[in-house]
Amino acid sequence: MKTTVIGAYPKVGDDAAAQELRRALHRHDRGEIADGDLDAAYDATTRAAIKEIEEAGVDVTNDGQIRWDDPLAPFARAWGGVSRGPLERFYDNNTYFRQPVIKGPIRADGLTLVKDFAFARAAVTRAELKGAVCGPLTFATLAEDRHFPSLEKRVLAVADAVAAEIRGLKDAGATLVDVEDPALVALPAHIELAREAYGRIAGAGVAICLVTYFFPPDRILESLASFRVAQIALDVRSRETTALGRLDAFPKATTIVLGAVDARNTRLETPDEVARLAEGALRLVSPDRLWLAPTTSLEYLPRDVARAKLAALVAGAKSAGGVEA
């Protein structure tokens, strides 16, 4: 049973040394440091995040998304035809994102994350590295659209752009890419449209983890199970859900990435709680098809709590590891 992370890792901690990036951004805003100095701060913070995740014993990491202002920002910045609009609340969090504004056909060169991925590849020492992109339904439904005549056309155009980014990551060496798409479970009515979008993404030729969080997949679980993805991440902590008892709906080849520690509450799970949750899943899924993760980005937590959550996750996975399927 492997452990992994999802989304962004906290960019700053509470001690002064862990606030280098925050200070660098302030100073960059005031014109006191050059772009290169800010870049160096991003790099140092990325290295530190990867180091903390590895030290916690996590098997598969991402780059911590230290350069991401929000889950849509790198794409809204890079893609042609898209600009960034006002601040909006990101689902049910007291966390805000810049709303992408689609003003024309979306143009993606697929290189948005390539440099970051290459940097992270050099930074990891022990863990496997995976890539991550925004989900097409999430981007399309959170954007303001001044161009496309319908939601369908918008979602599919975003899916093509996302597929280009995934191909870029694949060329940079990624073998697994998370597609973070909470809209799938937030807006289950669009499940068939999402299926079409994921059909396009499947063509990118790399293993995809379809990452859902914040909301339960209950209403669309069987539909989700028929998506052609290698992995699916489920948040079984944020709200009441029946998903844990229905994991046998997923095909034998699909890996379940179970959100086993709540990344949106400081209350710390014990390794035993994590193990019990995993053992519940292991009744329906074999250990080689079950990974454990935080429910979502650890950036919803203070950094010291994020670290403690990862420690509980890893300890829980180890103690559940011996259980027979």
Binding site: R89, N94, N265, P302
Partner: protein
Amino acid sequence: MSEVLPTTTVGSFGKPDYLTKARSQHARGKLGTTELEELERKATAEWIRRQEQLGLDVLVDGEMYRGDMVAYFAERLEGFKIGGLVRAYGNRYYHKPIIAGRVKRPAPMTVSWFEYTQSLTSKPVKGMLTGPYTLLDWSYNEAYPTRREAALALAEVVREEAEDLERAGATYIQIDEPAIHARPEEIDIAIEAMGLVTQNLKAKTISHICYGDFAAIYPRVLELPVDQLDLAMANYGYRWLDLFEREPFTKELAIGIVDVHAHETETVAEAAEGIRKGLRFVPADRLWPHPDCGLKTRTVDECMEKCRIVVEATKVVRKELAKVPA
């Protein structure tokens, strides 16, 4: 209030530079609490004078003594811990509170500020509180088994504070719930909790709601037991008014007619048009023009300009209404 279209503001104003500096010195241990409070009182008195000069009808203390609308209360309630830094957006971080034990109010939290501010003016000053649902939603809940239980416990301490404000003479009490649409499926919890807060109050009660999907909680939000809903409208191009076409709006409406997150301010004509839009759904004696949201992110001059536009636009529309024969 004899005048139609009474004007007010949402609660916070920009802090003068000397206070911003003093707060950061205080945070670094380089300025005493008494000295800081002296400056907070000075800044409060300045804002009362400015609001009177502007001609606003119902005043606020401007929240010169608060940083964050949840942390201020969390720091004064038993049961809360102040957590580590969490990012809100961009490079903005805040200390997200943790409900770590049963919540209690050891002492009044805002009453002395209300008394001081009201002593400076003959116009009514609003008592300003954060609602129980928002206190819950913007904190981590480690202590209560369910979100409902946490919200109801928080409602109890907010009720105590609101009743103390009323005893101190507040005739307007605002209990803000900007997080109310965070989880639309929990609107019943927000309504139940607010009911506990306002059940014994005779003061006019108000709740400010902003930044979220208001459509997702309309018309259920009309069951929130307050007299007045206070809504950001200009920032949203007044689109929430369309909802009132289908389901009539039944409360008093404080209508946001200037966007607070832009440095530039709407013209008097644009703001007046916003009021006229509101008048299609709410009569003039129940419609309160004001800025969209608290003005704490703006400079003092920007705050003044935005409030001036609100007052001028209101005068324009009041004149039009006076011309129309009853």
